[in-house]
Symmetry: C2
């Protein structure tokens, strides 16, 4: 390749061991999702720009796609997806007649956002979503089910791979909107968008925005922020909101919905969720429950798993398909851990056994041994060159391959140096050596 | 979603059961590749246009990507990858210092080509590649290893899922180029490109192109086509090429390389490969062995698995990383089979058991039962509504979920109607019902 190779900022790529970490995490997510009856779906990477537009702050980050030699007038205006929810809503609308509702799907795909590349922000990254979508209606208990499925997945990431604990922060847009309306604010969406910046710019600056940009008086702005201060591990938030003395029908609805989610989640995952009225979410399509998730000890990662309820995203005018879902920012979670050495794999290849080659004439015998080991599920490669054995052992060592098999009928654990006679039709590696061990610290 | 939903031609999307078929095929490919010591890698979806350009016919099919609100002058010119080989070569060049060679990797990712959408052509599709790349050199025996790994994968697709048999057609560019040069042709690449169209337009038209566009005389054009007629299941091709009376050093080299591949592959997979000198491949970067693969009974699919040896694709001027690889056109293979009903799954969801709900008050008990079944790896969902049981059974039926669990402590096989008392901590579904059964006809 003659053109100079340049790293592109914002497009992370893993080395082989990093990819093994990512695969293990994705496998575990998939397994958990499928155990809960979520089926995999993938959508095309592009959508008409009209589908991608009008969903809030994200609009300005869309990537347009066009054939280099396109005829500008005949080609549809397409853009790359920036999340898995909007394309899924389009998919549901397009294929509704062939789908069974409620539909439970997971979707693990890359998304693209033209953000300014910086710490924790990527232009291409992997999201792992679960969603449940109903036809015209969707029961409220799914708002509690979604975080429980995800907390079970994080529980396994913690138990099996060592990931720190997570806490899911839950709020409700109806609650916030009702509260703002109860304060006499006509456009609550503007308040939500600014309150969403609390973590980034702090409460003083948010208050200033509310006054300067939305024209709220200082007291009303302060009242908005008082709601955002409420955070309780149980349904105590209801009383604290009531104590603020605001009343509105939508507020009552939101309080009841959030109380139900917190109560159910606490019953199954004590300590896994908190009601946190600071949570707003930047996307416009959420209509009720909203979720964010914090990784213990890693506030710098921001929310690693977010989502919410969307009652009107998927609609064709006659029917609507309300949904609730949540999305793990897999790259946002793992790329910094891998880069910092907090996530690693015990080897950089799937191979458990390297079959050494005495000389090129005996390569067929080595291939035969490898085939017999593979037939019993043991990942095996044959040494690429009939070098002296020391060099072949180093080939294994550099990759972390634990065992080297010799044509003499012996297998060596190159970590301990122990070498024993073994039968390729019967020998088993220790269970822990069958595949690379992955640790997240 | 207000904008009208329009299907985009050339961007296939599966319904849930189709995706289950695809997942099973991808899982089986991955498992086979990892058993052979290939590690997973993914590259970013975009490359600088300079990296994507200059690789042959594909150039005009590149999709350019640009932020909608980009500043035209400061943004790199990027395009979506059209295969997994060119980005992998770039990756190798970029990260060479951190990789161990020979590097064995597989890569299962989407690629994009702005082809005119038509039968069997897609604008977005999944490719599953394996490649072995060396530092400055790569032993010839890998040219025989690559088809054997892939034939093992296809053997499993055949044995386990019922896919028809495949035959791999192997040729060698040195052989063809040497032969053309031996005929006195100065630009063999032009001949290769036109011979590559043999299957599409037939030998008469190819001969006409060779005469009209390249200025060959009729006899030379006919001699080019005589080479392309040679197809043997063994090394018989060597003698048949010799009989054409052309000689060139590069021809000898190509004959020896191809003979070695065919001989080795025949030893391990009798009948799996044929030497077929019609095979040319459209991409410019191949330098030796080239592969194509035919699915028995499905000539309309074209080659479902193609690749070859590329000695100079990855190079930074000082070093080069020669490689050999092959790529399954997963979408090209499966999308038509799924669309025609030749590929199906026994159910459209991963779920094996639906736990019925007596009334909303007993939902926690149903959630508890579901959790105990999942703890033993049984995919389970809880009925979304406490409808009458007939309706809940229909919920399962429509999705193909084989078992419904009742709060009374009984489980019903809804296919046979058999209902038995069962313990959620001990009951097991038959092994064949644990996950959806997939068949490719």
């Amino acid at each position: 390749m003659s053109p100079r190779v340049t790293a592109l900022s914002g497009y992370p790529e893993y080395l082989p061991a990093g990819r093994i970490v990512e695969q293990r995490v994705l496998d575990l997510l998939r397994e958990t999702f499928e155990l809960h009856g979520f089926g995999s779906l993938e959508t095309r990477s592009v959508e008409p720009l009209s589908v991608l537009a009008g969903k809030g702050e994200i609009d300005k980050e869309v990537y347009a796609v066009r054939r280099l030699h396109a005829d500008a007038e005949t080609e549809a205006e397409l853009g790359l997806r920036y999340d898995n929810t909007v394309p899924f809503a389009r998919y549901v609308t397009e294929f509704a007649g062939k789908l069974n509702f409620p539909l439970r799907r997971y979707q693990i795909q890359k998304v693209w956002r033209g953000e300014r590349p910086q710490q924790g922000r990527y232009r291409e990254f992997t999201q792992a979503d679960i969603d449940i979508v109903g036809a015209d209606q969707l029961a409220a208990h799914h708002d509690a089910e979604i975080p429980l499925v995800m907390l079970e997945a994080f529980g396994r990431l913690s138990d099996e791979l060592g990931l720190p604990e997570v806490t899911m922060h839950v709020a409700n847009r109806k609650l916030a909107e009702g509260y703002y309306r109860g304060l006499g604010i006509a456009e609550p969406a503007g308040v939500l968008q600014r309150v969403d910046k609390l973590d980034k710019i702090g409460s003083e600056k948010v208050a200033a925005l509310l006054v300067d940009e939305l024209g709220l008086d200082t007291d009303t702005a302060a009242a908005c922020l008082r709601l955002a201060e409420i955070r309780t591990p149980d349904t105590g938030f209801v009383e604290r909101v009531r104590a603020l003395g605001v009343s509105h029908e939508l507020l009552d609805e939101g309080l009841a919905e959030l109380a139900a989610v917190i109560e159910t989640a606490r019953a199954y995952r004590p300590g896994g969720v908190v009601a946190d009225l600071r949570i707003a979410r930047g996307l416009d399509y959420y209509t009720g429950t909203v979720y964010e998730t914090e990784l213990a000890g890693h506030p710098e990662l921001g929310s690693i798993c977010s989502g919410g309820r969307y009652d009107s995203l998927a609609s064709d005018g006659r029917h609507s398909w309300p949904g609730v879902g949540i999305s793990v920012g897999v790259t946002r979670l793992l790329a910094p851990l891998v880069a910092a050495g907090w996530a690693d794999a015990s080897r950089s290849v799937p191979t458990a056994v390297l079959v050494a080659v005495d000389d090129e004439a005996s390569r067929p015998a080595a291939i035969d041994i490898a085939g017999r080991l593979r037939a019993r599920g043991i990942a095996t490669e044959v040494a690429p060159r009939a070098d002296r054995f020391g060099k072949q052992i180093r080939y294994a060592e550099r990759r972390g391959i634990p065992f080297v098999w010799f044509g003499s009928g012996e297998v060596k654990d190159i970590r301990s140096g122990e070498q024993v006679a073994a039968d390729p039709d019967a020998w088993q590696p220790p269970a822990g050596d069958r595949r690379p061990a992955v640790r997240l610290h």
